[in-house]
Point group: none
Chain length 399, copies 2
């Protein structure tokens, strides 16, 4: 599909804005029978939906709850099942670590082991980020032959480990036995080319044990999700678009960078993001703009807060429309229903507005409303071709 | 999918008519907010839609604008991405050239080169068809060793070149550099088996240069879209149907022939086509009937003319129903919205009527109306299995 798009992409002067509301989709609250989107007052979204083509987006596969990584890769047009990104890499992207080709990344966490070396707490009592930062300083002193050892704190007991210069393969088993009363496992190479990586990681773990010996409860480490930076087709080349990402949170900047978008410097609020959008309006053809508040409220299980986050977003919509994009897309990377207080598998409302989108009967941007739209139930990675078509940036297939 | 259908197809006496309205789908006109289908008075189509299963057809993939070739292959049940037909072959089909297995076809056009051999006009000032016919006579005098050289004029500066007996592969690069100020490129074999074809084509181009030397502005040729006749599963065998095509335009006759339908002789109007349908009613099980006017009006950007073309078609519908087909299908090969004045990527309304189609809530044959139908958003090549089922011509899968 990406090859097909690449072969049909043509230049134009049209501008595209993709607004991604993190965790957009929701579920009815039992008390009212109405979802967050059905409860919120969203006059600008309703008006836009009336003029737009609407539908529901399925990001990975039926019943599958997407993480933010696959969720956004889908929106960018990459089938998340075909382009898998390891958790070590996602963790590194989440702290905006400058991950390079060949780096081997892992999710690390401090844990507690007893005198016999058996695990008694897989998260070291969730030590404070402050303490974690100090212990990471110790890990940074570890030296291994022929590679650079990079360690960065994340939050509480979590950190990222990166070995730079490790070689062609980092396909390794994990050290976390996922159970108490067992020792951390040595890693094993899952293919012959990963043998050196396995040796190095086991050496790192030995050194870590040594230098954390007096640091109980955080006296040992567990390493998971080993992976290297995947080679993804570059978004600006596939679509022949100058593409920019505007996101206050590092994870989403990292995902955009992963596919080759320019990541613009911006402030911490959505208002800041929209200022950044306005400032760079001339310099790019495509803008990915990320709105985080919806997901945060959903993850907290705070129905009212999610309703308010949606209404706040709605109040910003005219600011975007005033810029005069040729194609405006509103959707999300996954649902986060407040009643679940977690990511959900439910398809996510989506709308595509342009002069040529072809209106449909949908006039409310809700889960139920969008189910009757002309976009139908759309795999996420089919969205970008539709966006490209609406931007008149795809030529005809066949004579 | 075709193998599955072939294995399940059974005989019956039922008759199927597939009415393909070229460029059927449209878009709302900004002034009224209504599309061509929503503007036209279509009493017979509305009545049929009320009794039929309706939906929207997507011919190639989301966002992809189909050419007439892929558009019709999809309607015939062939996934257009799996069965790609080169542009040279489509151009040859478009003039009803009797293309045979092993023929190598290319789209040719006359161009202008300066004294240094650099291109100054890629279309030779769009010379008249009359002049083109004369210059093609010169090209017809070219002789090459071991192959037959066939050249036929198309329209204005365009012609078709066919080398007969060229061998197994015609995978060649193009001679058009797609830019002015450059010389035409020699063709290169894209696989070893195409080496002889490359040599022959380059020899043809040298000869063409020589015999057009005094014919400025049409003093050189460009060749593109090299391809050989693809081997497609034969429609009458896959579906176990005696199948006939009725089309006034050569391109659609060519496409029908490509899949092995009998192409019936007919006149230049839709009324002629329907007379042909009536005459051959007993002799066939399946009729593909093509209606061109909708596309022509859409390509001209003439909204009113497209509305009228739709109304004219509607007035003919009773003539078809009077024949008593068991399954009647109305759809198109792609959309041609008047506001685009070109083929569009928008899904195309479709209806399938039979005693067993299962009516749905749709009572208007429009883009918006069909969005709510039970056929859903259907890949074009899934239509024929549904048609076959409605004709009671498919047996059960599994016991």
């Amino acid at each position: 599909m990406l090859d097909l798009i690449r072969s049909l992409a043509v230049d134009n002067t049209t501008k595209v804005v993709l607004l991604s509301l993190d965790g957009l989709g929701g579920l009815p609250r039992p008390e009212t029978g109405r979802s967050e989107l059905e409860t919120a007052r969203l006059p600008h979204l309703s008006a836009l939906a009336t003029d737009a083509a609407c539908g529901l987006i399925r990001h990975v596969a039926p019943g599958i709850t997407p993480g933010s990584g696959p969720g956004h890769l889908g929106l960018f047009g990459y089938d998340p099942l075909a382009f898998q990104v390891g958790r070590g890499v996602l963790e590194a992207l989440g702290i905006e670590f400058d991950l390079r080709t060949g780096d081997l990344a892992a999710r690390g966490n401090f844990c507690t082991v007893d005198a016999a070396g058996l695990i008694t707490d897989r998260r070291a009592g969730r030590i404070s980020t402050e303490l974690s930062v100090k212990l990471v300083e110790r890990l940074k002193t570890i030296r291994l032959p022929g590679v650079e050892v990079l360690v960065e704190p994340v939050k509480e007991h979590r950190f990222v480990l990166v070995l730079r210069g490790v070689g062609a393969s980092g396909r390794l088993s994990e050290t976390d036995p996922q159970a108490l009363g067992k020792p951390p496992l040595p890693v094993r190479a899952l293919e012959p080319a990963a043998a050196r990586a396995a040796e190095l990681i086991n050496a790192f773990v030995d050194e870590a044990r040594r230098c954390l010996a007096d640091a109980a409860p955080a006296n040992m480490v567990l390493l998971r999700g080993f992976d290297q930076l995947p080679e993804l087709p570059r978004f600006p080349e596939v679509y022949a678009l100058r593409a920019a990402a505007i996101a206050a949170y590092p994870m989403y900047r990292g995902l955009a960078k992963l596919v080759g978008m320019d990541v613009l410097k911006t402030g911490g609020t959505f208002a800041d993001e929209l200022s950044t959008l306005r400032e760079h309006w001339q310099a790019y053809d495509f803008f990915f703009v990320h709105y985080k508040d919806t997901d945060k409220a959903g993850e907290d299980g705070d129905f009212e807060a999610k309703v308010q986050a949606l209404e706040r977003f709605d109040s910003f919509l005219p600011t975007v429309r005033d810029l005069g994009p040729d194609v405006l897309v509103v959707t999300g990377d996954h649902s986060t229903p407040s009643v679940l207080a977690a990511h959900g598998w439910q398809p996510v409302p989506a709308l595509v507005w342009s002069r040529y989108c072809g209106a449909d009967p949908v006039s409310t941007f809700t889960e139920r409303g969008c189910a009757g739209g002309t976009l139908g139930l759309l795999p996420a990675h089919h969205l970008m071709p539709i966006v490209m078509a609406n931007a008149l940036r795809l030529t005809k297939f066949g004579a």
